[in-house]
Subunit: 509 residues, 2 copies
């Protein structure tokens, strides 16, 4: 229980700073919600074994095919279809760790994936960015850095995802270097490598190592970075993704295998079938990590939602999405693997829909014992845009979830019978000693919610939560404090990025 | 599983009508979330026994004091403090039913409180009303009727609460008659009686009986109405509430005993103490119902949230609120009583805050196995205003919750291995036979969510969910169909209301 930190004394902050909860290690002390019966779970497992053993998974990369063949899988070179028997799966699950600790440049911001721990990441991958002042625009490096500053300012954002927005004005071949450098300059949190090819993954590992004053070899025993390997569902792991996976696993870094199983499009229209496919695809990736390096940390990723069958548009935060998140947790626990889920919404605005869709996925993730809630803050438009306001809205919702996870204290002191005896029928507790001793830290203090009465709220401008979020992110950015960096480390990072950019330019020339 | 109805074929509706799920009986097939350990639950129970046995509950009404004295409680006539020993509590819990069925004028809209059933009510009690076209205004009879029409048009609103808004222009002494008459004219659902005095309760029972073509005596074996008895916390049940409770119980109608335990104000600042107080107060009301009539249906109500300790303003949808809802469910289950919770928010606008605060209470209610989610649709401003848009927003969120409660189907057909075999790696399932046979009913079709891509959405006006809700309630009202009423019943209802208004006028003269 102490792992959730001392009572929720929201940090009052510097003068006028945004009040928020301190950085904490979050654990879910409650039992997970089991949405599938034991028989149903086994039926889905068995169906996924049939997919792996009989139908097959396509691996487009030669390295992956070689590893799988040498590992004992049945590889059809012509079709690139690989059939993996359950013995090979069992062997991979025997060596895959059930828990992994990631250490960023600031060891105080270590995170653990596994058990009942839960961590929230910044959104990853949107091509566009939006805020209430400047509207919607293409991703760019200036916004990239501001979004990192915002994440660093929020204690409930435990790690970064992949690129928080694509800085599209930067050269595509070296953009990842600029992003990694910004990650370790503006934040001190765990970040993501790109797994599109081995080179980008290795650059990320190198930068994480330099930022910690270590070598990539040191990081094998002390992982620093993670990557998402998306399966190109159905049943395909493409060449660059396979390469990225192998590079990360060989260097002992965390691979999150996440099938992209949108029901009705990239997966069947029924939840059972989509879960069976998701499971087969995730386990295929898990097997590849363990063939690359037995014991390499790997996370079971789930992203099963549905499309709108009228338009084919992806939908998120749906009831089906919530159920798949809960079921995915049961599958991950069956294999004793850490579990990754997401906080998602399809809404085009930071509005009530954005909030309720995100809540659907958040509650499901928490009740499903997700260890990593990817896209934890900032996702909108089904992932096509990162929003400054949504980051603030999500941070509030994440903080609230972490407070739900602080167990109720029940002891003589908290049962307060003396206070109940002291206050007469129909009286009030405002002045009771029991209240006065505790009122400053008794309750969660919101960052975004406005609890004033209607008249006061209206006189103060009658702003919606989204309008208030605009003011909040500006305040957070104004108060941003960069993490202290050793000048020698900063110099080494710059030198590495300079050298790598030169190499890439030479190769292109 | 069949109790949740056949797969979620959202009713397409008449031409252009709002698509929604059909009326269904909702059950929660999953295990409740146990937030308290068994020891903690017992400690709270023991503390509440000490409150009941040693500290005492004040009953301001003479009838209640008489019943309690004759039932064996220790009554101090001077202070009106009543001490109830645990034997008397146990005896009451022995006779109180664990489940009760309520039958409104349309028997197809019966609801059951108890077990794993879950029902959502319309909001009750706000003095004000708001919509996006006309703004905020005082409650009035015209809005009262429109709000009923809206509720009747929404299949997920299983019953009415107390007055959906106060029709303040009507005479206070007879207003309840106009409201009851509207309830059975514009809707065919279970409604609430006022329990402020016996007379209003009895008028409600009479009107419910006439609407069903029965007598009040017939309703003893077939309850039709319910009432909320709010404890005037701490530890006071006032005179009129006690009278209303006794009248309802004597006539076999459902009493929902709900302590008004806002932590820091009407209850101690700690969750454990507030829960102990809530429990003692709720059980005191339960005892009174069973003394009035052993076997009378009674529901364990919980309303424990916190106040903003800066301003004293009530807060809802907070983490503490969510935890108290979960814990309250455990207490109700300990006593095998049906459980009532709420869907609440303190937001002054139908915005992201309104959505996430409501979601916090909804998920807690569902995970805590609430049987009645009071204020299920329409509540804003901490209950001071009913909003047309919030009703639509809530209806969408409630529908989504009911879909989460439809268990995942896992069988050969739904596991779809043939479809997975048929679609090649990297392909898609849009045209698969498995998809084509199911796509129309596979997924929840939202009422409010907009899943179009950003460009299409923007070109169509770029409306937020709240703006779309304004169009939706207008459409629902335009399509409203009054429930058919036997003219003889309508005449009998009118005659009753006329007679009662005359009696009340004569008495006042």
């Amino acid at each position: 229980m102490a792992r959730n930190g001392r009572r929720n004394a929201n940090r009052p902050g510097r003068d006028g700073a945004v009040a928020q909860l301190p950085w904490r290690t979050i654990a879910n002390p409650y039992a997970p919600l089991e949405i599938l019966s034991a028989d149903q779970l086994e039926a889905i497992h068995e169906a996924s074994m049939e997919i792996l053993e009989d139908i097959g998974i396509e691996f487009l990369g030669d390295d992956a095919l070689d590893l799988l063949r040498r590992g004992g899988a049945a590889v059809d070179r012509a079709s690139r279809l690989v059939r993996i028997d359950r013995g090979l799966v069992a062997e991979a699950l025997r060596t895959a760790p059930s828990q992994v600790e990631l250490t960023p440049r600031n060891p105080a911001h270590r995170i653990t994936l596994g058990g009942n721990r839960i961590n929230f990441s910044l959104v990853a991958g949107p091509p566009n960015v939006h805020d209430g002042l400047r509207g919607r625009r293409a991703g760019n490096y200036r916004d990239y850095c501001d979004l990192l500053r915002l994440a660093q300012s929020l204690n409930v954002v435990h790690c970064l995802g992949g690129q928080v927005v694509a800085p599209v004005e930067l050269p595509a071949e070296t953009r990842h270097l600029d992003c990694y450098l910004a990650n370790v300059t503006y934040t001190d949190r765990v970040f993501n490598c790109s797994a599109i090819g081995a080179e980008r993954a290795l650059d990320g590992i190198e930068i994480a190592a330099i930022a910690r004053g270590r070598t990539p070899d040191d990081l094998i025993e002390s992982p620093a970075v993670l990557t998402i390997v998306n399966v190109n569902s159905p049943r395909r792991i493409d060449g660059p993704m396979g390469e990225g996976l192998i590079a990360m696993a060989r260097h002992g870094q965390v691979v999150v295998v996440t099938p992209f199983t949108l029901m009705g499009a990239m997966a069947p229209v029924t939840l059972a079938a989509a879960l069976a496919q998701q499971n087969a695809e995730a386990l295929a990736g898990v097997v590849l990590t363990q063939l690359a390096r037995p014991g390499a940390p790997v996370v079971y990723g789930a992203f099963t939602s549905n499309v709108d069958m009228k338009s084919g548009a992806p939908a998120f935060g749906t009831p089906e999405n919530a159920k798949s998140i809960l079921a995915g947790g049961q599958l991950a626990r069956r294999y004793r693997l850490p579990y990754r889920s997401s906080n998602s919404s399809a809404s085009n605005a930071v509005d009530a829909q954005a909030a309720y869709e995100s809540q659907m996925t958040l509650w499901a993730a928490v009740m499903g014992h997700a260890n990593l809630v990817y896209h934890g803050a900032g996702w909108m438009e089904g992932g096509l845009t990162v929003s400054f306001e949504k980051i603030v809205l999500d941070a509030e919702m994440l903080q609230m979830m972490t407070e739900v996870l602080v167990p109720i204290q029940v002891d003589e002191d908290s049962l307060g019978l003396d206070a109940i005896r002291e206050v007469g029928p129909g009286g009030h507790f405002f002045g009771a000693a029991h209240t006065l001793a505790r009122y400053e830290t008794a309750f969660y203090k919101p960052m975004l919610a406005d609890w004033r009465n209607f008249e006061t709220w209206r006189e103060a401008g009658g702003q919606t939560a989204t309008q208030r979020a605009t003011a909040l992110w500006q305040r957070l950015l104004a108060d941003y404090q960069p993490p202290p960096t050793d000048p020698a480390v900063a110099e080494a990072l710059d030198a590495f990025v300079r050298r790598r950019k030169e190499e890439i330019a030479r190769r292109a020339a």
